[in-house]
């Protein structure tokens, strides 16, 4: 008896071209690597440009002055570079937007994942995501021409350009992001946790608030942070609806200028290259970059720290 395995085909019918497949594998690897490198190089390029231009900006404007000047007037004859004038506007508008987006987004996420029937959910989720596809310039005009006049009915002191309506509309814009990401986090909570709560005689509301939401906390918080960093970087809505009037303070009823709006103003044209006005672009850009980076790092840390591991 031989131990040979019987085959249906003769061995000489099998001639794999190993060299050729090895070559193709190599080429594919190089092509994929090259495309992946493009995004990395681009990022590095942006960071390097920001860094060196910002460095030369601070060669002319002392860092201390950047932090403490009470006005932002880089294009005026008497130049002042108080970044907090812009930061205050950005922070205030982002705060208003998240105050709108957090309840809206979170409640929609809970509704979609826990209360909606599969059919309703199938219909509602795409509708919500369409909101994310509306061009921001449309949101901007909506804030300026619809929301502001509407709010002025109740708040007569509200100026034509203001943080309040920009923040509200910005909040509506980031709501789908909060809803969609939070819904993913809620959906990822294992069913057996819900079962465990129901089996103890918990109602749906008790299950959601006491078990599901805490279990999804890290995902929900990271969705909120991502939404905030999106709000900080948003340009069109705030440029159109909040105005271009650098104002220090946290009054949501008056025109302000956010960091992004100041970048728009400078890059729109009239400012000659190489001047100090032009260089503010990069100083503001770097500030923006540092803020969103810090938020993203915080979110990354938070998720790792508080994520519950279910095998």
């Amino acid at each position: 008896m031989t131990a040979e395995i019987s085959r249906d085909t003769a061995p000489d019918l099998w001639k794999p071209n190993r060299d050729r497949s090895r070559l193709i594998e190599g080429i594919v690897k190089v092509i994929c690597g090259a495309f992946a490198a493009v995004s990395i190089i681009t990022t590095l390029g942006i960071v390097a440009t920001l860094f060196f231009e910002t460095l030369s900006f601070f060669g002319e404007v002392p860092f201390w002055q950047f932090l403490t000047d009470p006005k932002w007037t880089p294009l005026f004859a008497s130049k002042q570079f108080g970044i907090f004038v812009l930061v205050s506007a950005t922070v205030m508008i982002s705060f208003i937007s998240i105050a709108v987006a957090m309840p809206l987004g979170l409640l929609s996420a809970v509704c979609l994942s826990e209360y909606a029937t599969p059919r309703v959910r199938k219909f509602l989720k795409p509708v919500l995501e369409i909101l994310a596809g509306v061009p921001t310039v449309v949101y901007g005009y909506f804030a300026l021409l619809t929301v502001t006049p509407f709010l002025q009915i109740f708040l007569p002191g509200l100026k034509g350009f203001n943080s309040l309506s920009a923040g509200i509309v910005l909040g509506v814009m980031i709501t789908p992001m909060v809803a969609s990401l939070s819904e993913d986090a809620i959906y990822a909570v294992p069913q057996r946790l819900r079962d465990g709560a129901y089996a103890l005689g918990a109602t749906k509301r008790e299950t959601v608030t006491n078990v599901v939401l805490p279990a999804a906390l890290s995902g929900i918080v990271s969705s909120l942070i991502l939404a905030v960093s999106r709000a900080i970087g948003e340009t069109m809505i705030v440029t159109l609806a909040a105005g271009a009037n650098p104002t220090l303070g946290l009054n949501p009823f008056v025109p302000v200028m956010t960091m992004t709006a100041s970048i728009v103003q400078v890059s729109k044209g009239d400012v000659p290259h190489g001047t100090i006005g032009y260089q503010t672009l990069f100083a503001v850009g770097t500030t923006l970059f540092v803020m969103t980076l810090a938020l993203n790092i915080f979110s990354f840390w938070f998720v790792r720290r508080f994520r519950e591991k279910y095998d």
Binding site: D195, A197, L200, P214, E308
Partner: protein
């Protein structure tokens, strides 16, 4: 000889009459009759897909939570039809607790895992005492008493399952349903849970689904053997083959299928 025990309906915690469960258009289990005597351990055994877990989930109406699930027939708990309009499933689940196949402690502290059920059920007494009593009842107190503030997820699998049992008994149910509670546990943890069941049956009625026939014969007083047959739609439909005292099921079953299953010839 088969010893017949005469029992009245007040001796039964749960009675199922002609219970069928379907998911969508698929019939999962058909015409089950089962009387669960109080303060006994009843094991539901049978091959995969025979509907034993499905039947178990009927008793605290957990099937209500599955979209498309439909339960027919009559199930009574202490004589009361659990599907009648007066019965709130939330209230029923307080009286008929459940322990699941995979330990599912909440992502909360060990203390809060126990206190949660008591709190949502409006417990007004001393919470510390209740937590300690429940953890002692589930034979896990000594292992966790110094780390009640730590997450329930930090425990080992066997400890997590005993925490889940503690959580179930904290709300003082009358019946505890256990859906393969040891299938994710190692043999030593399994033994501890089985010992615990013997203690718990003084106070509670236990219905346990198990794949493990030794477990059924070691722990239970009554055993129900379920089997499945292929349906014309290509699925499986479960049915109850035989239900009797455990020693009869394992030593002199009246059905050929039961005999073959308990002697390990299939399943």
């Amino acid at each position: 000889m088969q010893d017949t025990i005469v029992m009245t309906s007040t001796d039964f915690a749960i009675q199922a009459e002609k219970v069928s469960v379907s998911y969508g258009s698929t019939l999962a289990v058909k015409d089950v009759f089962l009387d669960i005597p109080k303060n006994n351990i009843v094991a539901l055994i049978g091959p995969s897909g025979c509907g034993k877990s499905t039947v178990l989930r009927c008793f605290n109406r957990m099937n209500d939570l599955i979209p498309g699930a439909r339960v027919e027939g009559r199930i009574t708990f202490n004589g009361q039809d659990i599907h009648s309009k007066q019965v709130d499933p939330v209230q029923l689940r307080r009286q008929v607790g459940m322990v699941f196949q995979r330990p599912n402690p909440f992502p909360k502290s060990i203390y809060e895992n126990i206190a949660f059920g008591a709190r949502i059920n409006g417990y007004q007494g001393n919470m510390d005492e209740l937590v300690e009593r429940s953890l002692r009842g589930a034979a896990i107190w000594d292992e966790v008493k110094d780390k009640l503030k730590e997450s329930g997820l930090s425990l080992s699998g066997g400890q997590q399952q005993r925490l889940c049992i503690a959580r179930a008994i904290a709300i003082e149910p009358e019946v505890i349903l256990m859906d393969e509670p040891c299938s994710a546990l190692d043999p030593i943890s399994t033994l501890r849970v089985e010992e615990l069941m013997q203690e718990l049956k003084q106070k509670y009625t236990i219905i346990i689904v198990t794949h493990n026939m030794q477990q059924a014969s070691r722990t239970s007083d009554y055993t129900a053997f379920f089997n499945a047959r292929a349906t014309e739609q290509g699925g499986k439909m479960g049915y109850l083959v035989e239900y009797n005292r455990t020693e009869i099921i394992f030593q002199q079953p009246s059905q050929q299928d039961t005999q073959e299953y308990v002697s390990g010839r299939f399943g």
